[in-house]
């Protein structure tokens, strides 16, 4: 286990002096990310238990979801993850301007996700498929709501990452990496949600 890399004194700084194996970001972020993964994992398992007991009603609920919305949102988050991963690589190379532009593109993908999700919720609510419409929709709104909160948090984290890239003299690469890791967490949780809510039959 490793401690957080030393604060960069001069740009561009190396990520870590410890050779090939190094913890990206910092331990604090990983504790949060792993904790979040375990909590979501537990809820995914609870979902599967309920689904097993009410297979027909879950399948009936699923048919009203827009498969295209779920897929487009997956592609938006994947594109966002690509931009942010490229931003981290650019920041390491000392290309802060390029890194900032990439973070902006990543945030744009996140905003696109919010718009698609808002449109999807609007259509479902207008069709009378609200949170009270059975256990499938109870889980659907709880999962997508908590996930949406993660996307909003992710946008704040990207803003922090962007601000850090405006401090060439003292920017902390571990903080930039940690912000990227949080953004990818939002992506990976959605990948599993997409499979559980939209894809499985």
């Amino acid at each position: 286990m490793t401690a957080r890399p030393a604060t960069a004194a001069t740009p561009p700084q190396s990520t870590s002096p410890r050779g090939a194996l190094a913890l990206p970001g910092d331990v604090g972020m990983w504790v949060f990310v792993l904790g979040d993964m375990v909590i979501f994992g537990a809820y995914f398992i609870i979902f599967m238990v309920y689904r097993g007991h009410e297979q027909a009603s879950f399948l009936a609920g699923e048919r009203h979801l827009s498969l295209a919305s779920g897929a487009v949102n997956t592609l938006l988050l994947l594109a966002g993850s690509r931009f942010v991963a490229l931003a981290v690589a650019a920041a390491r190379a000392g290309q802060d301007g390029r890194a900032r532009r990439l973070v902006q593109w990543g945030a744009l993908c996140g905003c696109g996700f919010l718009l698609v999700k808002a449109h999807e919720w609007d259509a479902l609510v207008n069709a009378g498929l609200t949170v009270t419409h059975g256990n499938f929709y109870m889980f659907y709104y709880a999962f997508t709501g908590v996930h949406l909160f993660h996307v909003l948090m992710g946008l704040i984290v990207l803003a922090i990452m962007h601000a850090e890239l405006h401090r060439p003299a003292g920017r902390r690469i571990w903080l930039i990496e940690a912000a990227g890791i949080y953004w990818h967490l939002v992506d990976l949780l959605w990948i599993i949600l997409f499979a559980l809510l939209y894809l499985m039959r």
């Binding site: 490793t2 190396s14 995914f44 097993g52 499979a195």
Partner: protein, 94 residues
């Protein structure tokens, strides 16, 4: 100045990973669109397996766990294996 550790992910690798993830998303989208309204064990196992592969790529490549210390590689792989086994197991149970 030679900044990053040599094994850190490159831009080209990020883009290849992203392209693969998009292709896998398209594949699971097409598979699920084929069968909208009836239960399908093979389809379900396929889409859950694709989701597991995608999740692992995000963790290993984008989060750079591939070049992280062993405890983190084991923790993330253990989480993914346990979760996917539970999802498939609970699906098959009913």
């Amino acid at each position: 100045m030679k900044g990053p550790v040599a094994s850190r992910i490159t831009g080209a690798r990020v883009t290849w990973t992203w392209a693969l993830l998009c292709a896998l998303t398209g594949l699971s989208w097409a598979l699920a669109a084929e069968r909208r309204f009836t239960p399908g064990t093979a389809l379900t196992i396929a889409v859950v397996a694709i989701a597991a592969v995608k999740t692992r790529f995000v963790i290993r490549e984008f989060m750079e766990v591939r070049t992280a210390p062993r405890w983190l590689r084991r923790a993330t792989d253990g989480w993914l294996a346990a979760l996917m086994a539970a999802i498939i197991g609970l699906y098959l149970l009913h």
